[in-house]
């Protein structure tokens, strides 16, 4: 019964999120009792959250995408340079997302046509795309302060009432769309069966190759969108911009309750977990703990929650739990 409750998309993660906020309200009241810190979360969480939505779908299919930091960089650069040189906004936006989508498409082709496991293939593509962006951009950084004040800027990353970051609304709409895609669309169903059992997917007539290519293209497009939002928010581009998301995005997906074994995904869980990761980071610093520790704690929470999620899914899949269970039965 309790287990069933925790299997509801996002339920257990939401509880953890609330507990975490309460803890930080006690340890860092000056920051966590005001509204400002929450507004800053809602400004910074959307880009990694949008990437994590794509990676959630990838994980559902039993695959992995580690290339997104370079896709973010590429999209940011394309957006920034088009705006700077040609003074275009929406065209730059669509070009940047299209570039992300194209990079994802190539990732998908490499994975399916060369048969390289996606974890390895996208790790290689992380370097390949990263290198390519650096070469093409000549290693420069861009500052585009002029973007501030454009219609696009206020529409995508403006502040409602001067305080509420509008990108949060876009990110939540995106989450709603991805939830529908996974849970209500035939594409999502195909991904669920591919991740559940590839051989079964083939026997029921799912074209796994085609679906995986579409999947990686979608993941690339979402990373591209995240790159644009990031560049709009910071009004700058530099090559290592997306790199900081590597840990937070992957952690968000699996802390959120998406199965590390594939075949099941929790979109709402991903949304809360993306906040959890950011809140831990900010909360520890605000509590006076040294910045270096944040990575340690995120890594720790990552392992802990992945284990907890695996136990909720199937206790026998965790060797330690299985050993303890047999010991208890014998003892």
């Amino acid at each position: 019964m309790l287990r069933r409750l925790f299997q509801i998309d996002g339920a257990s993660v939401a509880v953890v999120f609330v507990l975490l906020i309460i803890v930080f309200m006690i340890t860092a009241p000056q920051a966590f009792l005001g509204y400002r810190v929450y507004m800053s979360f809602m400004a910074t969480v959307p880009p990694p959250l949008i990437i994590a939505l794509g990676v959630t779908l990838v994980a559902v299919a039993g695959e992995m995408d580690l290339s997104f930091p370079s896709v973010v960089a590429a999209a940011s650069y394309v957006f920034g340079i088009l705006f700077q040189e040609w003074d275009v906004t929406w065209l730059a936006f669509f070009c940047a997302v299209a570039v992300g989508c194209a990079m994802g498409l190539v990732n998908g082709l490499v994975i399916t046509l060369l048969g390289i496991p996606s974890l390895i293939a996208t790790l290689a593509m992380l370097f390949l795309w990263g290198g390519l962006v650096t070469v093409l951009s000549g290693g420069i950084q861009l500052a585009i302060p002029d973007i501030y004040g454009t219609t696009m800027h206020s529409l995508l990353v403006g502040r409602i009432g001067g305080v509420f970051p509008v990108q949060m609304i876009w990110a939540l709409l995106m989450a709603g769309f991805i939830w529908m895609l996974l849970n209500r669309h035939r594409f999502g169903e195909n991904l669920l069966f591919i991740g559940d059992n590839l051989e079964v997917a083939r026997m029921v007539g799912i074209d796994a190759t085609r679906e995986k290519i579409k999947l990686f293209a979608l993941s690339g497009a979402l990373s591209g969108l995240a790159g644009v939002l990031l560049t709009l928010e910071t009004t700058a581009y530099f090559a290592s911009q997306g790199m900081g998301y590597l840990l937070t995005v992957i952690a968000a997906v699996f802390i959120g309750g998406t199965s590390i074994f594939g075949g099941s995904g929790k979109v709402i869980g991903t949304v809360f977990a993306a906040f959890i990761v950011t809140v831990i980071e900010a909360g520890l610093v605000a509590s006076g703990i040294q910045g270096f520790w944040t990575r340690f704690f995120i890594g720790f929470v990552f392992i802990l929650s992945v284990t907890a999620n695996a136990v909720i899914e199937d206790p026998d899949k965790v060797p330690l739990v299985r050993m303890l269970r047999t010991k208890l039965r014998k003892g």
């Binding site: 209500r184 669309h185 035939r186 594409f187 169903e189 669920l192 051989e199 083939r202 007539g205 074209d207």
Partner: protein
């Protein structure tokens, strides 16, 4: 349709790399015919039906469905479904983490024009299949139950219920009784009889010769990838059939002795 066979294979062969699993198979499955496919493990039975049902592509030979030549570059499980061929595979073809309502319709969900699944309708029909076709009663199983929580027999029931729901002209059953209790085996045999009564056809793969001989119109025996017998079931008594199969075995043992 008339007397046109539903499926016709001509000199079909299939090799998995160096492993030849089918060689030079020519056969027909007629309309309203129950065909028993017999053979040892590894004889090539599953391979044969995977070719017919669009899962595998043959290495050599031609396939015709209702007289229409099959071009394998665009033949698929989907196309086989469109041509009204249903399959219950030997190994489970169910996603164990997925709920029953998805498993009934996977590969061909009921969707709107944008591809969004009509979940309520699928659940309603799934419930109907469970109640009327499979006869699941209570026991905490509903349309939202993941297939992984069902017993082997229940899973087989789901796969058969799925095949029964999509009324097809040809239903392929690959060792459907393996995981079943005796009473459940009887249900499967009744299902096969109902296929016959409804004017449809069936390929029935089964190791229990008694069952095959009882329900089938025609018998096909495969031996190490080759077709060694294709005859009317009436033309052979049960004893003649078992003698024939025993002789096949002894033939093999003789060969291996000579070889060694």
């Amino acid at each position: 349709m008339g007397d046109q066979p539903i499926v016709r294979l001509e000199n079909v062969g299939k090799a998995y790399g160096p492993v030849v699993s089918l060689q030079d198979i020519t056969l027909e499955i007629g309309s309203n015919e129950i065909v028993g496919l017999i053979g040892d493990n590894g004889a090539g039975k599953s391979t044969l039906i995977k070719i017919v049902t669009g899962v595998e592509t043959p290495t050599t030979g031609e396939v015709y469905i209702r007289g229409e030549h099959i071009n394998f570059s665009n033949y698929s499980v989907q196309r086989a479904h469109e041509l009204r061929i249903e399959t219950v595979h030997q190994t489970s073809s169910l996603g164990t983490k997925q709920p029953l309502w998805r498993n009934f319709f996977v590969g061909r969900p009921i969707t709107n024009a944008l591809g969004f699944i009509k979940v309520r309708e699928q659940k309603r029909i799934s419930e109907q299949i469970m109640r009327e076709t499979i006869g699941f009663r209570g026991a905490g199983i509903d349309v939202d139950t993941p297939v992984g929580r069902l017993s082997g027999g229940e899973r087989q029931g789901v796969a058969i219920g799925r095949a029964m729901h999509f009324e097809s002209d040809l239903i392929v059953l690959d060792e459907p009784t393996v995981a079943l209790a005796l009473s459940e085996v009887e249900k499967v045999l009744n299902f096969i009889r109902s296929i016959k009564e409804n004017g449809r056809s069936c390929i029935y793969i089964e190791h229990n010769i008694h069952h095959v001989h009882e329900v089938c119109d025609r018998l096909i025996v495969l031996d190490r990838g080759r077709l060694v017998l294709d005859c009317e079931a009436k033309a052979m008594s049960y004893t003649e059939l078992t003698d024939f199969l025993r002789n096949l075995h002894q033939g093999h043992e003789g060969e291996t002795k000579v070889a060694s």
